[in-house]
Symmetry: D2
Subunit: 157 residues, 4 copies
C-alpha cells in the first residue's frame, strides 16, 4: 500500500501548519502518511515511502538551510528515490518574496533524484504557498495539491 | 494507445537532430510519435497526445520566442493538458550558456499546464542538453530520457 | 546624460500601467525616459539607452512571447549592451502564479547580455509584481524600484 | 579602499581551487581580497566588504547546505548588504548537472540582500562553472569574471 511522508522545516509555525493541513487531507482520503520536522528524520527513511512532500519557509529565495542539508545528505541514497512522486510547498512573509523560487529549488532537487512531479493548472501552479498567516486561499491550495498528489500516487501505484 | 508528440524550434539544425534522435528511440520502442517544427503545429493538436516533448535552442537563458509564443497560444486549451506527461530538451553553444535554465523554463510551462514531469538521477538531470554539435554524450542522454519518458507513459496509461 | 527605456507587453493593460508608474517616477526625478510597447521598438534602439527596464505579463511562468522574440532578436547587438543597467517587472493573475519566475526569466536574459541588475532587500525582491489589479502595494513597489534603479544609474554614470 | 571577500564550500577541493584562482586574479589587480571556507567565516564579517563572491559545489541543483545555512544566518544583517556587489561560481560533476541553477540560487540570495550583480555576454554567462576537474576553459572564465567584478567594483566605489 502506498505511503507518503511530509517533511518540513519551521520557525514561526506556518510551514508546520501547512504540513498538517496536507497531512490531514491525505489521511482523510485513507492514504497512510507520516509527518516529520526535518530535524527528526534521516534521509534513509525516504526509502520507505512512495510519495515525498517537502515544505520550507522562504529564506533568501531558496529552500531553508536544514532542508538543503537534509537533501545534500540524501546523496547516500542517490538513485534509490528514482520514480517516487514528489511535491513542494513554501511559506513566505510577502508576495514576490521568493516563495515561487523556493518551491522551484525543492522541485529541482526532486527531479535530480529522478522523481516525478506534477504542476497544477489552477491555484498555486508549482506548489502551495502561504503569504503571511495561513488564509483560506492557502488552505484550499494545500488541500487541492494534496488531492492531486494522491491521485497521481494512485495512478502510479 | 498512447501517443507522443515532439515539438521543436531549430535554426542551425541541432535541436531538430535531437528531436529526431528522441523520435527514433520512441518509435523503436513501438510507441506512436509525431514530430513537428513549432511552425507546423497548432496548440489544438496537443489535445491528441498523451506525452508532449518540447525542444528549444538556448537563447538568452530561456525557451526560444517561437516556442514561447506557441505555449502562450496554448492558453486556449488551459486545463485540457492536465495530467499529460511532459519533457524538455535544449541545445546550446556553450557549457554554462543557459541550457539548464532553458529547460527549466519549458518545464515551468508544462507544470502550469498541470502536466507530469520526471527528472533523471543520471545524465542530464532536467532534460537532455547539447553543447555545440551533438556528440555521443548528448545522443546517449536523448535516448535515455526518451526511454524513461516511455516508461512513465506506460505506467500512467 | 543618462537615458532609460521602458519596454513592455500588455494585453489587459496592467503591465502597461505598471510601466507608466515607473516611467512617471523616473521623469519626476529628472531622468530622461522613453516608454514603448514591445511592438513599437526595435532591438537596435536599446543601444541608445543606459538603463533598460522590461515588463511582461506572467504567461506560463516566463516572459511573454513578444518580449522573448524581441530579446532573441537583440542578438544582433550581442556584446553591445554589456554594462548597461537592467530591471524587470511582471503582472500576474494570482499569487504563486508564476510572477517571480517570469521576472527571473527576464533577468537571466539581461545577465546574458552582460548587464547589471540589483535586487531589493525590501518589497518585491526581484522586481515589482502586480497580483490582479494594481493596488497600493504594487504601486509603491514600482516607485521604490524605479528610485533604486535611478540611484544605481547615477552611481554608474 | 574597496575590499572583496570570497566564501566557498568545498568537499573535493574543486570549488576551493576556483576560489583561489579568483582570489589570485583579484590580488594581481591590486585589490584587497580575503578568502574563507564558509566554516571559518561569520555573517557579520560580510559588513566589512564591498564585494562578496560565493562559490558552491552543485548539490541537487542549488547551493550546498553549509552555504545556504550561512546565507540564512545572514538575515541578522538584512538590509546592511544593500548595494554591495555580488558574484557566484559553482563546480559540478557533469554538464547539465545543475551548475547553472546552483549559480542562480546564489544570485537570488544576493538580489534579496539588495546586492548588485552583473552577467557576462561571453563565457559562463551567470558565473564561472567547473565541469569535473578545472580545465583551461574554467580557469579562463574564473579570471574573466574576476576582472569584470573588479571593474564593476571600481565603477561603484
Amino acid at each position: 500500500m502506498a505511503k507518503i511522508v511530509i517533511i518540513y522545516h519551521t520557525r514561526t509555525g506556518t510551514t508546520k501548519k501547512m504540513a498538517e493541513i496536507i497531512h490531514m487531507e491525505i489521511k482523510n482520503n485513507n492514504i497512510e502518511a507520516d509527518i516529520f520536522p526535518v530535524e527528526s528524520v534521516k534521509p534513509k527513511q525516504l526509502l520507505d515511502y512512495d510519495g515525498i512532500i517537502i515544505g520550507s519557509p522562504t529564506y533568501y529565495g531558496t529552500l531553508a538551510g536544514p532542508i538543503k542539508q537534509f537533501i545534500d545528505d540524501s546523496v547516500a541514497f542517490h538513485g534509490k528515490l528514482d520514480g517516487k512522486i514528489g511535491m513542494a510547498f513554501s511559506s513566505s512573509a510577502n508576495i514576490a518574496g521568493g516563495n515561487e523560487t523556493t518551491i522551484i529549488s525543492i522541485l529541482q532537487a526532486l527531479l535530480i533524484h529522478g522523481m516525478i512531479i506534477q504542476g497544477d493548472f489552477k491555484g498555486d501552479h508549482y506548489g502551495p504557498v502561504a503569504i503571511g498567516k495561513i488564509d483560506k486561499r492557502c488552505e484550499d491550495n494545500c488541500r487541492r495539491m494534496a488531492l492531486r498528489f494522491i491521485e497521481l500516487l494512485r495512478k502510479l501505484a
